[in-house]
Symmetry: C2
Subunit: 171 residues, 2 copies
DNA sequence: ACCTGAACACCGTTCAAGT
DNA sequence: ACCTGAACACCGTTCAAGT
């Protein structure tokens, strides 16, 4: 008896051993000892299956992020954790293009935004900063083919405290 | 009588009208009034065909970049030009993951690095900054699904002049 | 409800053959 | 040299059928 999460986990294993192109419905089914058609009971299409992978990979990143007590440190944890995930599985980078927004992504973002807002940022600003940092990491990994140069992330993280100060000039 | 560039251009047209998934060897061949096999005379594989698309799309960006006379303005031109290209053809963003480094990309980068070095940066620094800015734009487009928020690019471009000053403290 | 088997309409690519 | 036609080994997915 299969669950959707088992199917996604099997897809991750397939991609780990044969690349994302080797992650076919038939290969995933084989790994589960099941017929390809059985997958369609738990997943609408191959595209949906692939889109569900990112959130599953972010479980530990989310755990680390919600443990932080300041906005910038949560942001840093998200950036470095995501970079670590993408370095461990470079094939997954492209799947973050159209991820199914899942519980892990949402929890990490919500916690980080909450902290930044408590520190004086607007919700819009906080959202933009997360987006910018995540975009930097993904873009960096995508263009660097698996290596990670933290130049861009460092610049962004260094700039944000200043922006925060200037967005609440008096107190 | 076909040329490789014609094949790449036809592939761009296919992707424009049917998305990158509709850009099959058969569809490209049809558009050129030719058999799928004819394409293999000019292109080693479908992957190579797709990898050649980015450089062709960057022709005008390269023209604008080499016209600049300061490193940061060349960098800005690359960032905004690339963003424009990716907004016009969102399907192409993912192809920048493994681009075939072509003449346009190389000319734009070389000009920009030359300017930054003449202004006092090291070649390594200049290279890292270009990479960071390009990564930001691509990551932003990839995660924003076609819209472009310049927050990250603005932060990076604002930070670079300061870095440049500090890397040559005396004169 | 959950899974299977057979089949359909596609792919990218090879290989021998044409001119 | 350049292109074609037929064929191969795959795909994702549908549909009817089993339990």
């Amino acid at each position: 008896m299969l669950s959707a999460e088992q199917v996604v986990a099997a897809a991750i294993q397939c991609a780990d051993s044969d690349g994302v192109d080797g992650c076919t419905m038939r290969a995933v089914a084989d790994r589960l000892g099941v017929t390809p058609m059985a997958l369609y009971r738990h997943v609408r299409s191959k595209d949906e299956l692939l889109a569900r992978i990112p959130d599953l990979l972010l479980f530990e990143v989310m755990e680390a992020a919600v443990r932080q007590r300041s906005g910038v440190s949560a942001l840093r944890e998200i950036a470095l954790g995501l970079a670590k995930v993408l370095m461990a599985r470079p094939w997954s980078t492209r799947l973050f293009e159209q991820p199914e927004p899942g519980p892990n992504m949402q929890a990490a973002a919500a916690h980080c935004i909450g902290l930044l807002v408590a520190e004086g940022a607007s919700a819009d600003e906080a959202f933009q900063w997360i987006r910018a940092v995540v975009a930097q990491v993904i873009g960096e990994m995508l263009t660097a083919h698996g290596r990670f140069d933290s130049t861009g992330v460092d610049l962004l993280l260094a700039a944000i405290p200043d922006l925060m100060r200037s967005s609440r000039p008096t107190r």
